[in-house]
Structure formats: C-alpha cells, structure tokens
Amino acid sequence: MARLADLPEWEREHLLHLRDQAPRLEGRPWVGGPALSQRRVALISTAGLHRRDDRPFGGGATATEYRVIPADTPSASLVMGHISVNFDRSGFRQDPNLVFPLDRLNELAADGSIGSVADYHYSFMGAPFPPTQFEPKARELAGLLARDQVDAAILIPV
C-alpha cells in the first residue's frame, strides 16, 4: 500500500515532492553494540502519541518536542495528537500495538530475543518539515536514553 506505484497520483506526487525537498544529512553515524539478546530497547514513535493527561502537541517552536511514555503506561490509554489527517488511524483505534508495539517488545524480552525493555519510551509528532528541526530535541533525547542504559532505539513512524 505504501508502494508509490500503488498510490493515487496526487499522493504519489506529494511524497515525491517531500523526497526532493528532504535535506541530505552529512556523515553516516554508526554505533555498534552487544548481541541483540543483551540489548536494552526503547520505542521512539513519531505518531504524536502522548498520555491523556500530558500536554497536547502544539505548533511553532514547540512542535518538535517529545513526550515521555513510561513503560508502565497502558498503550490503550494513549491518545494520538498527530496533526496530519492523511494516514490511517482506524488500525490504531483497534489495536495500539499497531503503532506503539510495547506489548510485542515485552514479549520479545520475555522469550529472550532482546535483553530488556527500557523504562521510558518517547513520541514526537512527526509533521514538522524539514526534519532537521528535530536535531536539538533528538540530541537531548540521546542523553536521556543513555541514562536509561538503552543501546537500541527502534523508531516507528506513521
């Protein structure tokens, strides 16, 4: 479905326009680490998820902030504050693991596929363009993840 050839022309052109306008990032950073079975894994979503009692995502300079989702937050209680209306949300309404697979991650930790699950997970609201605007908050987040002993962050867009 997200094959460009399968999309309507107007949507294909929009996505290709974004591709053409996307910044080319300098450098190819690469961090190694232990075997997967020893890694501590965190989820980073760009779906604009947040706890119901947390601040909604705003616009302007605040649009690149992140929200903290503690590991003991029931996924079903999260709300989705992404500004875009142009992606499917009906799947998330049925099953939050479709977008924020914390239950799946816990299962993989339980069967030993990964070492452990982080105590804190995070969500951005992925609409701001160009995405280089996220740099300050992403660098800030790297420090928080390191303090949680995270050595594998998986990034889930919508």
């Binding site: 479905m1 591709r19 690469w30 697979p101 299962e107 996220f134 050595d151 962050a153 998986i154």
Partner: protein, 252 residues
Amino acid sequence: MSAVGHYLEEGGIATASISLVREHSEVMQPPRALWVPFMLGRPLGAPNDAAFQRQVLRALLALFEAEQGPVLRDFALDAPTADTAADDGHGDACPVNFARPRQTAVPGVALAAALADEIDELRPWHDLTVRRRGGSSVGLSGLTPEQAGAFLCGFAANQPPDNFRPEQALGQSLKQVCDDLRAYYEEAAAAQPGGLGPAQMQDWFYLQTVAGQVLVAARSLGLAHADKSVRAMAERVLIPRAILNRKPSPQA
C-alpha cells in the same frame, strides 16, 4: 524519522527505523531502516495480529546485527488484507445500522440534534470497543463526545463557541475536537460485526455520517475565518486529501 535516527546515532544511541516510504529512506539514509509495504498509519502491518507484528519487529531488530551501514532492507511480506472484516466473532449485537442513509443538508439546530442522536446511537458500540481494547484513544480535547459535537456544531453554525483551552489557539482546539469525534466514531465502528476496512472507514465517517457533514461545514466556514490558526487548520488538516480530491460520482 530518518533525521531523528541520524541525530540519535550521532548522540551514541544505535537506532533502527521502520520506513513506510522507501524513496524517503533512500535519500535520507538513516543508519538502519526496514522498508515495509504497509499503508501509512500501519507501521506494524495489521491490527490484532500479534504474530505478524512480532515478525515485523524481529525483522527490524535483526538490523542491529549488521556490522556496517547504512542498511536499508525490505520486509518481504505484505500485510494481511487491510480491508477484510474485523469481526472477531464475539457475537455481541447492537441494532445500529451504520450505513443507513443520512440527510445531506439540514439546518443548524436540526444538525446539532441529529449529531447528538448519532453520538448516542454509537455509544453501545464504543463501550464495546473500550472493553475489548482496554481503553479509548478519545481524549485530545478533554471534552466528551457530546461536548465535542456541540462545539463543532456551534462552530459550523457560525455561533463561535468559547475556546475550551484559552491558552491554545482556537485552530488547535478545533483540530482536537475533530480528531476526538473521528476517534469516537472509528472506535465505535471497529466493534461492528463485519467491521470496516481503512478506506471504507474513512468514507463512512466523512461522507455518510452527520459528524462528517458537520465537519465539512465547519471546514468551509474555517477557510474564511478571522482567526489565522483556524484558517490554517481548515486548509490542511481537517479533511483528508483522499476525501477532498474525490471526483464527483458519475451518477450525481
């Protein structure tokens, strides 16, 4: 997502991203990416399919075993059909016909009453989804669906409601109300036997419900609103492009 991965990796955290648009990952070149052939909004492929979701997650995590990058790998499987029925066989019954014809143009007061009725009709289905899902994703605005409906009707009838969050722009409040109503309706529809696929769900909400009619009316008014934040929301994020770009039916 690619940029966030890039900066996290520069900050010392190994990352692996799901890629929903391969062409974007090709130019951004995040350290590790798994392209999945799923629709936007469904990064793990299919709701209520834990085995398939685990498969996607394992493929994503396997990227951490690569010794050098950037790595852009393709996930080999398509998602189980997104438009198949979502009936889980629980057999609960509720006599609401979501597809019944709705009036296409009704005046303001009648529209508000029709919306209130519709919200009320959907309540048993919504309760069912909340029970199965373990919670609701309605809650951006902090208003009940009935309050959200009243806010939107007032807006659409050009009787400006008070901004329920004065600290935020009116446009943002309007957007939260619209998203909450859509969430309530989609959660209610998800409980129906037979279910609706994503495209059907979108068409149903925007084209067949009273809420969709009110939303279209609110957008029309918002496009010329005095408040810049409202105009911006109305222009870009109240109605999906798939609905706005819909060609008129030949029989119309």
